[in-house]
Symmetry: C2
Subunit: 363 residues, 2 copies
């Protein structure tokens, strides 16, 4: 991603087959958009309180990484127009199924009832304005993740909707998601056979690094990969996958080229320290390969294509990567930055569509 | 590292040449050991206060990872006996120069004067009991890192000692070390041409992950690699290496197999976001390759030796790795876990001795 490079996107790249895009971002354009989906109480609350929409965002408006030029509709925000998503993503990339992720920062709302009501409104907006109008789309639902019991209620409310395939959790959280306080979320997701996803961002109030608060956005952006690594490790060793044997989790927009070295490290140290986590009956990397999937973008890849293939080989499974455009975020200009070059045919097809089809139970 | 594997260490492995070991841990055996190195005031303080030694440790006594069997002297703690360090490390591994790292948790002491006094006593103990008695040894000095001005004073006090080659900073800190509040430490180190090192552990009181407090030691242990990654990123983008053009930093016991993927990610995102850090005149990976070095252990490596060689190739420099035993910690049993197999001769020699010789200016 170069600020001054010739911009390929929002044009698509012909990948020679229909794809499943597991990461299309949509944004609520304004509080007005949610009004039709709120009860009288919450409409009045919006009208009379200072609260409009959460202001926390992991994608500052002016940062070059936040949006490709040309993705904002007139007077709107990038990812808020179905017409543009159809043009820039669904049609341009030959998308068979696209999964919508709406980074509405419900976790930044400290009033639990507001967080629950606004999450529900966002989800009903996603269904009413997107899923009902475009059969190629599916969605992740936003939940009030600070209050797991309310999050579970929202999952129960919408878990049966055929367009809902996933629960959206922000990667940065107040405590690691493996902690038992969060288990009601996993229990509800498992009840409806939904994937639980970790997604870029989060605004819990605690520092997003293991060494306190960074100073610059570039650190928050790059450092998000470390947050995913901490969460992944915690989810495995706390026994979430042992306790919920059908649970599946997707790591969306957190990168994946760090995965081999992390698995080596976890497996090695787990061998020495597993006595304290006796519920883990297999090596951590086995849980990861079986139960977790990773979106392809951002592809923080090696300049040398042979290193990319080696990395995928090191993961030890051809099933963990799932194609994503991460629209409208700006991750790539050149085709080989969108999808690694030189993939064997079977692996390429799995990454472009089959891994996601199977993981999300898409028919 | 397998709990029940046949134990090779504390025997050494014949590597066919003298080595420079950049990570030998020593431990203060008891508060009594420091008494000769304290002023009357602090002796009295030790006698009359509840304070003995910091209890925070990144290496719990009973954890299998903390120490190889057989490394504790009778009635003592591992790494507290010069005779055993000679036998298990210096002689067994044919060590030409060994660098001592004493994980005394000065950063856990909130009284700044106590932290400074105890750091000074530990350093004088290192000189008196180790450096003065064994010419093959060098040492990192402990500093009261919470109070950078006092840390700088301690660096000035001992920076001219020929056995002192490095400043010891715990990896987990209250704020990332690139923050300007810490710059007096780098300034003092640069003044004496000392390396500044980040070392496993740290007890600042804030959570050691970007998603709050983990539950288990295995997470703290594995997750330490993420802390190093956050620190490294912060040190580069805050401009520490631009501001201190001769500063060199060593990442000790934080792993390094995560380095290629991190450098790809930082370089890529920096290209889009570098406007906010205009002091960086080169790509972040260039600073890392030129100014940072990494200890070989823990070698969280690929099971396949060809992947190990590929990883080193991906780093893009044959100068960044430095051999370490990490004695008395238990990282390996088999020779190929101690040093990667199949290294080309020149690279192997650089890793085993020449990189450290040049970086630490060892004559």
């Amino acid at each position: 991603m170069e600020q001054n490079a010739a911009v390929l996107a929002p044009r698509g790249i012909d990948l020679g087959q229909p794809v499943i895009d597991v990461d299309i971002h949509v944004n609520v354009p304004s509080e007005q958009a949610l009004v039709p989906y709120l009860s009288d109480h919450w409409r009045e609350y919006l009208r009379y309180s200072a609260f409009k929409l959460p202001t926390d965002t992991a994608y500052p408006k002016g940062a070059p990484t936040s949006a490709l030029p040309g993705t904002a509709p007139e007077n709107g925000v990038p990812g808020s127009s179905l017409a543009l998503v159809r043009e820039h993503v669904l049609d341009a990339w030959n998308v068979e199924v696209g999964i919508l992720n709406c980074s509405y920062a419900a976790d930044s709302l400290h009033n639990p009832d507001t967080a629950a009501a606004m999450s529900a409104a966002v989800n009903d907006w996603l269904i009413g304005e997107w899923l009902d109008k475009e059969p190629r789309l599916r969605a992740s639902i936003v939940v009030p993740s600070r209050v797991p019991e309310l999050a579970a209620k929202e999952i129960d409310r919408l878990g049966g909707h055929p367009g809902v395939v996933q629960v959206f959790l922000p990667a940065v959280s107040e405590a690691p998601y493996g902690h038992r306080r969060y288990w009601p979320i996993f229990e509800a997701a498992a009840r409806h056979d939904l994937v639980v996803s970790l997604q870029f961002g989060g605004a819990p109030g605690n520092p997003p690094t293991g060494a306190g608060w960074p100073s610059y956005y570039v650190e928050e952006y790059v450092g998000m990969a470390q947050v995913y690594q901490s969460q992944l490790l915690n989810l495995v060793v706390e026994g979430v996958f042992d306790h919920f044997p059908t649970l599946r989790m997707a790591m969306i927009e957190g990168g994946w080229t760090w995965l081999p070295s992390l698995m080596w490290r976890i497996d090695k140290d787990w061998k020495g320290l597993r006595r304290e986590v006796p519920w883990n009956t297999r090596t951590p990397s086995e849980y990861i390969r079986e139960r977790m999937r990773f979106s392809l973008q951002p592809l923080d890849g090696a300049p040398d294509p042979k290193h990319m293939l080696m990395l995928i080989d090191q993961i030890g499974s051809d099933e963990v990567l799932m194609f994503s455009t991460d629209y409208p975020h700006w991750h790539f200009d050149r085709p080989e930055e969108a999808v690694p070059a030189g993939l064997p045919d079977v692996l390429r097809r799995k990454i472009l569509s089959e891994n996601a089809r199977s993981f999300y139970r898409l028919s």
